[in-house]
């Protein structure tokens, strides 16, 4: 826990968790509706 209390490490770890989480919900919640979240990027 002490390493996580270092602000830089804490920000990096938080960013990795949050960005991964939101990307996953964007992707899977669109897929569940039969839609492609990455539509624009595949063009």
């Amino acid at each position: 826990m002490s390493a996580l209390n270092n602000p830089i490490i804490a920000v990096l770890v938080s960013l990795v968790i949050a960005v991964t989480y939101f990307t996953l919900i964007d992707h899977y919640l669109m897929e569940m509706q039969g839609l492609d979240f990455w539509y624009l990027f595949r063009q």
Partner: protein, 638 residues
Amino acid sequence: MGVVTRKKLFSTVALCAIVVSLFLPIVMALPSPATGEEAPVAEGAPKEGEKVEKARDVYYKTEGIVVGAPAPKTTDSPTDYPRYNFESRVLIWFANQQHLYYGSFVLAVPIFCMIIEFMGVMTKDKALAKRYDQLAYDFIKISLTAYSLTAILGGILIFTFLTLYPTFFAYLSSIFRPVMHIYALMFVAESGTLYIYYYGWDKMKEGFLKWIHLSMSVILNVIGTLLMFLANSWIGFMMSPAGVDEQGRYLGNIWHVIHTALWNPLNLHRILGNMAFGGGVVAAYAAYKFLAAKTDEERAHYDWMGYIAMALGVAFLIPLPFAGYWLMREVYAYRQQMGITLMGGLLAWLFIIQATMIGILFLSTNYYLWQALGRMRGAERFQRYIKYLVFLMACGFMVFITPHTMVMTPAELKAMGGQQHPVLGNYGVMSAKNGGINVIIVTTVLSFVWYMRGNKVPTVSWARFGNIFMGVFFACAYINIIFLAIYGYYIPANVRVGLSVPQVASTLSCLFFMFALNSLMMKGAKQLGPIEWGKISARSQYALIMLATAFTWMMGLMGYIRSSVRLFWHVNEIMRDNSPWAYTHTVGFAANVISANVLFFWISILFVFWLGSLTAKKAPVEAKVGVPGAIPQPAGSH
């Protein structure tokens, strides 16, 4: 047999009787069992030797035996539409709206009572438990007088239907006959349970009896909710009929008639709306009492009551836009034209007013929370950041209320180069609006988290990481919501509509995860000072009154929108409205009628509150035990 044992036995028997009465209407609705007797032939059902006519359900597309008469074809005559020298539609509108206001209130308040009574039973702090119990009692007392008024207004509504729209009401009751009887029986069960619940409060205040009392509140709310579901089936049928053929003939399956395309979305939307409305009304009552209070004790009590009611109301307000979104999605799925009439056509401007009201609701809630930080020592540290929340709220609000097209004179139209403003017009689409409302809701969640931390500092070993994680998570949620809103402009409409789901999920993630994380962090937190209940600005109380008024106005508005989307149909595509009032009113006229309804409701509810205060003056001293003192500390309240 001891007195206590007798009480236990009596209360258990009463509870069982209530549970049995809950099932009684269902038993009565079952077809009679085969006893050798000849079952009576249902009215409209084919007799022996008669040819059985089958028809197709307009919604379920299943075949069924025709057992009902076709929907009547009305004419503009005194037979179908008897009238006074006044618009009948406005009269029925008024009667409906007032019944709905009171109905919502008396359905919502017992749910609050149940939650607060449960909190009182579960809390280990005896003084706090008594205060919760007293608060729950205060709530139910308010709703009891309102309950009688609800029944009276229900009677007025039925008489208004019978006298002004007899043909339509005859058709509706021929379809819903068993449902209407079940409704009436459930109402009897509801009344009985409510009276036992209220008058048995003091007799069942401890131990096992208290649990019985709490169970009664659960049953009371189950009955209340079922009542609402049944009433919703009537409006669901009028909007999206099922269980009948295209002539409106009943096909014998009552479940199809009840379970229409819009029934479940309506049920969810209404239950959340009722709760938010009930919380708002009780909060306004507490605010009024706070402003009129003469002692610090009273101010402390009503400040606390207002906070609890507001918090409960807002807890249901937050998911309300999502339930509304689901309802609209189902409306589009049922009839696209109906959805377009609502949100892109005739009624679209009313949705702009609705967006404004929703924005006002969230702004008032946030304003109250920011003011409430003032009653906590240590909360000053958050004050300087409030301006950033105001900025976010204002941006979200402005996007949310921007209309797609403007109402303009030809000269203005020419000067602007079209109906859409070259810049602001971009914010008038759903993609931007979803972003706007989600930003507003996430900001409200953030305000709540700050409020919960007001006078506390986390002491857990991972506090710094927790704080940073929370900040990053909120920031990423904002970025994701805004990114999805912008992304929507670059992809086709059929893909874009799906983006609302991850947007909502982002908001709900903040709500659930950040509240949970914050609660974990606040375990054993260091208190910087007590919460000084009663020491809050008068402005905050006006915010609560504003909140309640906005709720009331918005309910009236949304009721009108939902009802008028049927245009010239009593029952959509089945029974045409041929009265002289089968047209859509102007926005201004509708707004005036809604305002008149709101005004009447508030004047009449003030009368109800006044009646409640008369009883309070006669309350025994014992009932006053537990009224919070000048500086109470209900730590468990948040």
